[in-house]
């Protein structure tokens, strides 16, 4: 029943991609790079993030004004730019901030689409559980790093989200209160809070790198760069967003000064500096990125915990059901193996390692299959010139026999 459902999802996905393939050809289909696109965007986030890092000041008093300094208008300034002059700002700063802001949004969308496609094409189960589980961890981490990025701006929205997050964490039984204090580095919000958020954001980004490594480690030749046309498309959309929705701090004074600024822009851009103690009522944020807060708003804290908790548990157990038979694991025939390493080089899931043979053997190395990682695909069989590795249910001699029988048949 569930297998039929997965098969239906795969059908829908392939039908959709067939249409895209027709227009773009297989080499340029952006959907075939669903895993590489988040990593590609991540490079821009690192680059723009480092530039923003240079000027961000993580204290309650100066966080908002430092972000304002970075994203000051006009983009290109007359005269000198100096920290001492509050009217000046970093040239092109709001563009860098825009790339960072909309790149993060793009990375979240791309990560979710990647997860959906892997699930829809049934490539998360059985021997593939490790990339999937590390992927779930990466999704949570990308969400966490993105949320802390929002909080760093320390405007009204950031303050509201911080208060909600405190209540959210404090709802955990037993350890909730101390975890919440750990989150804001103290009992109340102080300068240390922003420094803590800053560490979560930058340290979390570094942790994304480490988790990416674990995500790739069981995949040989991982595709980490999309095709050139996809690269241009992704960067193009990020720049269009950065240019169409200026990533600046929008205050009432700014709206009064530039009537062309609509209130709509404030939905996405940041607003006035935070006022500790006063929560604004109408907090607006990207729902598809900040979906935990949407859940908190609609369902309350307990409801949100239930939904997030159950979804995470379902994601974690997804690779283990339904179980496959696993009766066709590749077997090495010791007597024939020469240690040529062709099978080990070709195995897409790093399931074959070359190990030393006993001293005095005719050959130095022997291939060893790690059964838990074997996908029963037979690529190693295709790589072996000596028929020394076989799938038990379909060995090379049987296939040769089939070929001869087919030819004998005639038309």
């Amino acid at each position: 029943m569930y297998r039929k459902f997965l098969s239906l999802l795969k059908n829908i996905t392939v039908s959709f991609e067939k249409m895209i393939n027709f227009l773009t050809t297989q080499e340029h289909n952006p959907l075939y790079f669903h895993g590489a696109i988040p990593l590609y965007i991540f490079w821009f986030l690192i680059f723009s993030g480092i530039l923003l890092w240079m000027y961000y000041i993580p204290t309650l008093e100066r966080a908002w004004s430092s972000v304002n300094y970075i994203s000051a208008l006009p983009i290109i300034q007359k005269g000198t730019v100096s920290l001492a002059d509050p009217a000046s700002g970093i040239p092109y700063g709001s563009i860098i901030r825009g790339i960072h802001r909309y790149g993060a949004a793009g990375m979240m969308i791309a990560t979710i689409l990647h997860m959906l496609r892997v699930y829809f094409t049934d490539r998360h189960r059985s021997w593939r559980w490790f990339p999937w589980i590390t992927g779930v961890a990466l999704l949570v981490l990308v969400l966490f790093v993105g949320i802390t990025g929002y909080l760093l701006v320390w405007d009204n929205r950031a303050y509201a989200l911080t208060v909600w997050t405190q209540s959210f964490i404090a709802a955990i039984p037993l350890i909730g209160a101390s975890l919440s204090n750990f989150f804001i580095a103290g009992d109340v919000i102080t300068d240390y809070t922003l420094i803590r958020f800053f560490f979560f954001h930058v340290g979390g980004a570094a942790l994304i790198f480490v988790l990416m490594w674990t995500h790739f480690i069981r995949l040989k030749y991982p595709v980490v760069t999309p095709s050139r046309s996809t690269n241009f498309l992704v960067l193009g959309f990020i720049l269009v967003a950065a240019g169409a929705i200026p990533a600046i701090n929008i205050t009432q004074e700014l709206i009064a000064k530039y009537p062309s600024l609509s209130d709509q822009a404030a939905y996405i851009a940041s607003d006035a500096p935070a006022n500790i103690g006063s929560l604004v009522s109408n907090v607006r944020y990207d729902v598809w990125y900040m979906f935990p807060y949407y859940l908190i708003e609609k369902l309350g804290i307990t409801g949100a915990w239930w939904v997030l908790g159950v979804s995470t548990i379902l994601l974690i157990v997804a690779p283990f059901y339904p179980k496959d038979r696993r009766d066709n694991i590749a077997e090495v025939i010791e007597a024939k193996c020469t240690g040529c390493t062709f099978c080990s080089l070709d195995c897409p899931f790093e399931a074959i390692t070359m190990q030393d043979r006993a001293p005095g053997s005719k050959f130095k190395l022997i291939a060893v299959v790690q059964e838990a990682r074997c996908s029963e695909c037979g690529i190693c069989v295709g790589a072996c010139p000596f028929q020394a590795i076989e799938l038990p249910n379909m060995d090379s001699k049987a296939i040769d026999g089939d070929v001869l029988a087919l030819l004998k048949q005639g038309v």
Partner: protein, 142 residues
Amino acid sequence: MPTLNPEVPPTASTESKPKVVVGFVCERSIPIQEMIDQQKALHDDPSVKIVILPCSGMVKPSQMELALAQGADATFVCGCAMGDCHYRTGNIMIKERIEGERNPKLRKSTDRTKVGMFFFTMKDKRPFLEALAKFKSLAIKS
């Protein structure tokens, strides 16, 4: 076209021998199970015989050479679309083996005009049959 010795009886001419094509098809690329009959021949073209494998990367170039040596007029492999192999790299592996860029390689002496490669998704039954027909017309000169 070599001229036949007029003293040789006409039944020895190669023109009357039926053309056979042997294809190695991955079960996750085109919907091959519904395209073949009991004798593993294609419904749409009974001269094409199919060997079904879990992945196109399981094909050894020596098996394709065996097919050609034992009487097949052409041989091909069909795998998943490039970029969408179910086992990630199977179609790339067989492509590189046939093109001579990956060990074990298809021997240089093998006639490349008789060796075909197709990479299609499970919704590409018609495009596969069209590509196969084109390949046959180019590979088999009769």
